[in-house]
């Protein structure tokens, strides 16, 4: 997952590191590599204020002081890292990270590095990694802990799933049903996609396999009625969570959007979750933005993240639409769904394989 982005971020990280390294060890400066500083000899310390034995050779002395300062702390100027930052910017854009998110990351990295005093013993790489981590954390937001949300809210918690056609909404509903069931919650699914041929059967098969109760009407029935019945069932049977599947729709199709409005009025969802595919990249971000503007969304699920090497949508969606990313779909099996944990993703992007 996001292999391309990880590779490119590693390259950008080394480039930033070497730009700073170059400042730390300008040509002519002698002494050990700044990345592995060694404690200076007491005789070279300027703190003593006493001239050492080298005082007779001013040039050598100054050099030593210079080395000492470089070792002790390093101040990065904007000019030093401009080239590397512009590389990072292109890297992020190439990975389909939306422009506002890219700007935010670059701004944060710049803020984190420029004027930074490197402490003794701190390597240049850790300086770069830390500022990249802070920048990504800022853009990725806090994620959305669904189980915690359910625990803290009045039951049944009603979750409405929306999104465009063919992105894996129905499968996502089944996967989240499975996830919540494993977390100890009771779940009922409302087969609100009465529009697409075979959709009711599809969600029916999933529900049967997972042992989850499903409420369904006939094809072509009013989805609001199906979902109203589902909520009624959940209330009377003390079910914890209602997962409402709906038909795929585009934000610019007025009649389908009106239908969604009606569904919202009738079932009064606690959460509206927008589902799209990670592989759609920036298109997914644009669509999520439009959807949020038209019907509103509280959280986002991105499917097919296992096939997405660029990771642009996952990185930029929370920042661009201001709604958290809740889950990533990463495969065909029911347990192939990962709660989105920003810290984990950042660690894996910058340190290891996802």
């Amino acid at each position: 997952m996001f292999g391309g982005l990880r590779e490119k971020l590693q390259a950008a990280r080394s480039r930033l590191g070497s730009s700073i390294q170059a400042v730390a060890a300008p040509p002519g400066a002698q002494g050990p590599e700044p990345s592995s500083p060694q404690p200076p000899l007491p005789a070279e310390s300027p703190v003593t204020g006493e001239p050492g034995p080298d005082a007779k050779k001013p040039a050598g002395f100054v050099d030593k002081i210079k080395t000492f300062i470089i070792e002790r702390e390093l101040i990065v100027s904007e000019k030093d890292i401009d080239g590397a930052l512009s590389d990072l910017e292109i890297t992020l854009l190439e990975c389909d990270v939306a422009l506002p998110a890219t700007d935010a990351i670059i701004g944060q990295v710049r803020k984190g590095l420029v004027g930074k005093h490197r402490k003794i013993g701190e390597s240049v790489d850790s300086l770069v990694v830390n500022s990249l981590k802070t920048a990504l954390a800022e853009v990725l937001g806090n994620g959305f802990d669904l189980t915690e949300y359910i625990r803290q809210h009045e039951k049944p918690v009603k979750i409405l799933f929306t999104g465009v056609n063919g992105t894996g909404k129905t499968t996502t509903v089944a996967k989240i049903g499975y996830f919540l069931k494993n977390q100890g919650f009771s779940v009922v699914i409302g087969a609100g996609d009465t529009y697409r041929a075979g959709a009711i059967e599809q969600i029916g098969v999933h529900a049967e396999r997972l042992g989850i109760k499903i409420i369904q009407h006939q094809e072509g029935a009013d989805p609001s009625a199906v979902l109203f019945d589902t909520v009624q069932y959940a209330s009377s049977h003390k079910i914890d969570v209602v997962l409402a599947d709906t038909a795929g729709r585009f934000h610019n199709k007025a009649n389908l959007m009106n239908q969604l409005e009606k569904i919202k009025r009738v079932m009064k969802p606690d959460l509206v979750v927008y589902v799209d595919e990670a592989v759609a990249g920036n298109d997914a971000v644009t669509r999520a933005f439009e959807f949020d503007k038209t019907v509103g969304a509280d959280a986002v699920v991105l499917t097919k993240a296992d096939m997405d090497s660029r990771g642009g949508a996952a990185i930029s969606i929370a920042h661009t639409i201001g709604k958290p990313l809740m889950f990533l779909g990463v495969g065909q099996a029911y347990d192939d769904i990962l709660p989105f944990e920003p810290a984990k993703v950042i660690d894996e992007l910058l340190e290891g394989g996802i």
């Binding site: 990975c95 890219t102 075979g198 059967e201 029916g204 049967e208 990249g281 090497s309 642009g312 065909q332």
Partner: protein, 143 residues
């Protein structure tokens, strides 16, 4: 195997079929993207050698006009996230080649998924087949 089990298997088969269809569409999109990128690479490389010559500029609907490229060395390239940047011809070709490689890797993954789905569909088909045979055999015995 009873009738109900057979129906469930049929539903599974249908569902796997729908999933496979979505992945086939995705594969097609990747293939289209790959072909477009390869065509662009070829055009960019040829433009450098075309010199002052004219090229045919497709304007859609099968119509083309003769055009002269003023600066074949400079290319405006959509690098992602709806951002277009100016690159040298060589850099643009390199970028497109990388994209082709990326798309090939993704297509491989999608193709593997389709294969896996087809394998599962075959399995289900076999079970349905044997279910039918069992049902027919027991029907004959009852007669």
């Amino acid at each position: 195997m009873d009738q109900r089990e057979l129906m469930t298997l049929q539903q599974y088969l249908q569902e796997y079929g729908q999933q496979a269809e979505i992945f086939v569409q995705q594969l097609q999109l990747l293939e289209n993207g790959r072909m477009e990128a390869l065509a662009a690479i070829e055009s960019l490389e040829d433009m450098l050698t075309a010199g002052e010559g004219t090229v045919l500029l497709q304007i859609g609907g099968g119509a083309s006009v003769r055009a002269r490229v003023e600066e074949p060395e400079k290319v405006l390239l959509a690098i992602g996230a709806d951002v277009v940047v100016e690159r040298s011809n060589k850099d643009a070709v390199e970028f497109l080649k990388e994209r082709v490689m990326e798309m090939e890797a993704s297509a491989k993954k999608v193709a593997e998924t389709i294969d896996r789905l087809r394998g599962q569909m075959n399995e289900i088909n076999k079970r349905i087949e044997s279910g039918y045979q069992q049902a027919m055999a027991s029907g004959e015995m009852q007669e």
